[in-house]
Symmetry: C2
Subunit: 353 residues, 2 copies
């Protein structure tokens, strides 16, 4: 890891979870950092966690804007003004609005957009952690930024252990509308319509519904800003989904329409990368019924380890009324049969899919 591009240090605007986590990660990599935040309490907390100094570095190599999406553009423009020798990047999850505005400024060559895909646990304020970006994709949108500016931002992403993915801002916003923004809206719409289901019927909900509504617990204020910034792409992607669903809804004969949709969906879902870019269709899923008491999961994993089988994925499904859980374990196809035999011999209740 070559951090020489950023040895002059990084100034971070915004001491929320992401800004603070970035400060911790950069300090961990030996890079000087400073922070600022209008909220003095947040700034003080970030400082005491060790995320950076509260007096801005005099001549930082880079200024990172880590404020809510809706205020990102104005803060980026101010930073380009206030730090005339620094590269400026931002971490907002919508890239084109900032890029488009900055492109019209005389500082465009010093701005490069970033989007670290730090995942859903980004909320709350106390949980800042220096490993938040490790092994996550970090999208870099060069735009009108100079090669040297891109280099500095890539240096930051690499310093915190992220995987750099280069992408144009428009392409990024288009892609996240489909893979992130519209999935959020579908999850929320589905959850919202649960008001039509009475409390006595909700126990019919299985693992499928729980998967489909997990995103629905997200932060409404954040999604207001994201949708407001990615209006065109979200509308287009949402329009596509509405068209698909309306075709089913209006079908004269709903059965064949559903069959075609489910078949096409199954084909497309196989393209989504799972582990290390491999498709999940190479895995076999084994379901084990375990008493839902402390230590059973550990015992099961010990048994799987004894069989020298590596677990690719694992999910737990709880039964609403009984003290029993179903554990779904995904393993490499070729190891499945031997594992089932091993577990069954040991007395585990295995349901093979």
């Amino acid at each position: 890891m070559n951090t020489s591009r950023v040895t002059r240090g990084v100034h971070i605007i915004g001491a929320g979870l992401i800004g603070t986590s970035l400060g911790l990660a950069l300090r961990h990599a030996g890079i000087p950092t400073s922070l600022e935040d209008a909220n003095q309490k947040a700034l003080h907390l970030a400082h005491s966690l060790g995320a950076g100094e509260t007096h801005a570095l005099r001549d930082p190599a880079c200024v990172v804007v880590a404020v809510p999406p809706a205020t990102t553009t104005e803060v980026v423009l101010a930073a380009l003004q206030n730090f005339p020798d620094a590269v400026v990047t931002d971490l907002a999850s919508v890239k084109a609005p900032v890029a488009d505005t900055v492109a019209r400024s005389t500082h465009a060559h010093r701005y490069v957009g970033s989007h670290p895909m730090a995942g859903r646990e980004i909320s709350g304020a106390q949980g800042a952690q220096g490993d938040l970006f490790r092994a996550r994709s970090w999208v870099v949108c060069a735009g009108a930024g100079s090669p040297k500016s891109v280099d500095v931002v890539v240096g930051i992403a690499e310093a915190v252990g992220a995987d750099v993915v280069h992408m144009e801002a428009q392409a990024h916003d288009h892609a996240v509308a489909y893979v992130s923004h519209v999935p959020q809206l579908l999850s929320s719409a589905l959850a919202s319509n649960m008001e039509k289901v009475s409390a006595e019927h909700l126990p019919l909900a299985g693992a499928g519904l729980r998967d489909m509504t997990r995103l629905a617990s997200s932060d409404a204020a954040l999604w207001k800003e994201i949708a407001g910034l990615n209006v065109e792409d979200v509308r287009a992607a949402l329009g596509d989904i509405i068209t698909t669903l309306t075709r089913i809804h209006d079908a004269h004969d709903i059965g064949p329409a559903v069959e075609e949709l489910v078949a096409h969906g199954a084909q497309e879902v196989a393209r989504i990368p799972g582990k290390h870019g491999g498709g999940r269709d190479m895995w076999a899923e084994i379901t084990v019924i375990v008493p839902d008491t402390g230590g059973q999961l550990l015992k099961l994993l010990t048994a799987i380890d004894e069989a020298n089988v590596n677990i690719e994925d694992l999910a737990i499904e709880h039964s609403p009324q009984q003290p029993v859980g179903l554990v779904r374990v995904s393993v490499q196809e070729e190891t499945a049969a031997a594992l089932v035999t091993h577990l069954t011999t040991q007395g585990w209740n295995v349901v093979e899919a």
Copy 2:
């Protein structure tokens, strides 16, 4: 468990995964079973697995129809004719069409509908297992069935360890449209529209998209039949979702509309039962970064066990390019802080949400 209501035995029509699993479970409970299937190969396999005799019991207490949804009604009517002293039930996932037709027959008092919620792993043919129904909800729709008939069907559900839930057929079909059928269609529609995302952009997909598209790998032929049988309820529930999504799509100002939707969804999702009827909002989620090598998950669970903390839920998220995985562990709120301290002290990389 009182199995006296079904000591005369159970005849199962359909030797697929569900019929065979039911046979195994009933035999395990000491109840005589027989099976029939037009497919002699399937019948022979079920018999050799020990699911039941291939010659129909002469005077079974109950006949269970375990054939595909679309053919269930005619098979139920034939069974009522052919077994004049037996109670007849079926296991189809849509209940009103069978119930409505049977209600017009002179045998209506001998029919009771069933829907064992045996979960998503119901596909394929070799995986029959006697514990498939244990700790799962088993919906019983009494309809025009006599109390004695209901008693027999409840006896079967209890014999295989399921949790009996009494419900009217119409209410069942309405509820499953919302909690099962429409979630399937949303997942398939979302997956289907991934065709708009190029392969190079798919690595932006995170755990959220994977959750939302897990159902999309389902069996298209089965869903054709389910949708075809629950047309009205599926159309109504799908119409509700389309209305919700269209309101967002057409909003003059999309941001506030999204904020309202996400906030309402978060409120409704808290009603969905998690473990033992408790809401998942009582859990704290801890994310741990682990090297994605064999045995690490086991080591982590050992460490959690040492801290005397019980795991409520667990999910693994893989990084597309690096040999590192994120393990999300849900624990009781009050145990979270001590667990984080314990794991951190042991050198684990913990990201607290």
